[in-house]
Amino acid sequence: MRANATIALLGQPNAGKSTLFNALTGLRQHVGNWPGKTVEKKEGNFSHKGVNYKVADLPGSYSLSANSDEEVITRDYIASGDADIVCILADSSQLQRSMFMLADYAGIDVPCILLLNMADVAKQQGKSIDAKAIENKLGIPVIPFSATDKKSYDVFYNALDKAVASKNKLNIEALENKYESIEGFQQICGLIPNDAITGYSSTWLAVKAIEGDKVVMAKLSEVLDDSVMAQIESIAKETKGAVATGGCKFAWIDDVLDNAVSKKSKNIKLGKLDKIYLSRVWGKPAVVLTVILGLLASFIPAIPPMIIGSVVLMLKAPIASGLAAIGAPHILTLIINDVVIQSLSYIIKMLGFVFGVTLSFGLLEEVGVMARISYVFDNTMGKLGLQGKSVMPFLISFGCTMGGAAGARVIDNWGQKVLTIALAWAVPCGAAWATIPMLATIFFGPGAVAVIVAILLIMLVHMYVTAKVFGRKLVKKQDRYGMIMELPPYHKPKWGALFRYVLGRTKETFFRVTKVVLLVCGIFWALSYSPAGGNGGILYKVGTAIEPVTKAIGMPWQLFLSYIASAVGKEGAIGVISALYSGGSYSAAFTQAMSGGGVAGDLNSILLANVTKPEALAFMFAMTFNMPCVVALAATYQETHSAKWTAKIVLYYTVVSLLLAFLAYHVGLLIW
């Protein structure tokens, strides 16, 4: 029997190391821990042609840089010389990428062979690899191989036999030439003697010094003078570090593979849609237009519930006469009709929009348009002093501002986080998207479309101005890098999952909204109720007292109270409108209309009769850009940890929403 030999298996995760190890050793393996570490140590043995081989399966890692225990254990084991041959595995199907381990290994003074694993996969991809050509450049055996294919093991065993005998080492001259392009590399090399640390060449150590490898630096400082170490550190600091050495390694890999790997050169082409979305000029308008179209499309599924909601109101008359017939008290009839039926009608109408808007946004996300939005606005975010990823909280805020505030947690800089949350407030949340289009449809009919577009555009301006107002104190203007993105390909939506999400969300909203609207409507109805009929309610007295002020902003007192309620939650505003415009004690004219039975049941006409279009417009803007809700307020405090900034944001939004209402009112007066 010939002398024993030890081989070590080295490769990135998924390079096929385990498959090879298991195939070689079978049951003759044992698993333990590396001394003093929690890293698994796998060893085994096999014999071939009378040679007894010991196999060490080294921990899988991306490279040999000291990122964790795995890499340090791996390279220390190799450098110790315990292994006669290191088998480095690379994935043939992506050699450019997976040869990196070899490049990082280069300079370690231990013989090695390169296994081009998964040769079968590469073949299927139509790649042909000239192993001999690579072998000539590297100076070590290079073996096309497939760890899952028993037949390819013969070639491997033969190569191993030869390698153990010849002990070829990797030729790193070409790589060293690349490294020399890094200013200071040669100097550092000169400062490190070749035998400074056993097993490593001065080139390898110099590269790791440039990369800032702490373990290598600590070891070097044990053998080198402090002054030399200081010199190395100061030179390394002037380089681009790991970015520079990594660049050299990749360039070397490309040189090695040049003419050795046949590859079909593909022209990179952008799809038709991406040519528009990814364009510097057209990207933004295209994305905004897509979102607007999406929102408009959401009106279509909302039409049937709008009609059903109106039909529900027709129940008022039969219920009233039914209750009267069984002798129920008048107040019960009022409560059922003015609170319950009235609210229900609104809720049903709102659900149509919840369904429509959720479907639209879900669809935009599913087909891949949402991903393009973050792409398009990356640079804009930078101009506002924000990080590109701030787009995410904004997108979430279309659903729920609270979620947006929580989503802002991914931003590590406090100032940028506060600014992101402050801007997220301007994004109309799910509750706004349920109530505003519904009200807009009641007031403006098809004109609602224009109102929604206007709100969306004002939102963009609002966010821009808000960023300028708060940005000065919160973020420092600084140069920033753009993001790198991997955009998903456009694909057909999975309708099943999408509808489950949309219906689930509509259902959730139904329960929440029903609670809020009924409660608020009940309270406001009670406050406005006067047993004597007419205008006796408390609310009426308060309302008429403040009306001179609220009228200046463009809102009758009922709408103003509704605006106040919208600060608690946008749905709450609907409860107030439902209570104050549904009749009861609202006004004499109103009560008369109520007694008209079925006709008066049509709240739309009552609203239209009592609220002018400019007033409605003013209210819609006030409500949309009011603070999102009290829970969002609490979330903002929780995320910013600053009562001062939370208060500032609340005050700012209140003032701005009233200002926008004022402007909308006067614009409205010009139009109508």
Partner: protein, 90 residues
């Protein structure tokens, strides 16, 4: 790789394909460099998972259990089709 980072200095986002076009290389080349830059900490993958949302107005049940956002905030399992983003850490 220096050129790649240099290019992003203008503050504009780029897709892998656009980077490959501008640098006259292949998407595969960009992908391996992204992997490397992520390893050495020069770039960081943006996490799109929103953690616990403490019962937003979208949660009918108030406080949600576990670390997942409520259905009201986001589709289940978060945004799945937003692709991947890396921010440059310098």
């Amino acid at each position: 790789m220096e050129e790649l980072l240099e290019l992003l200095k203008d503050g504009h986002a780029r897709t892998i394909e656009l980077l490959a076009m501008e640098l006259g290389t292949s998407p595969e080349d960009i992908e391996r460099k992204i992997e490397y830059l992520e390893q050495i900490g020069s770039i960081k993958r943006v996490s799109m998972q929103v953690r616990k949302c403490n019962g937003c107005s979208g949660c009918s049940g108030g406080e949600q259990s576990g670390a997942t956002p409520c259905k009201g905030c986001m589709p289940e399992d978060g945004f799945k089709n937003m692709g991947t983003m890396w921010e440059v850490m310098v």
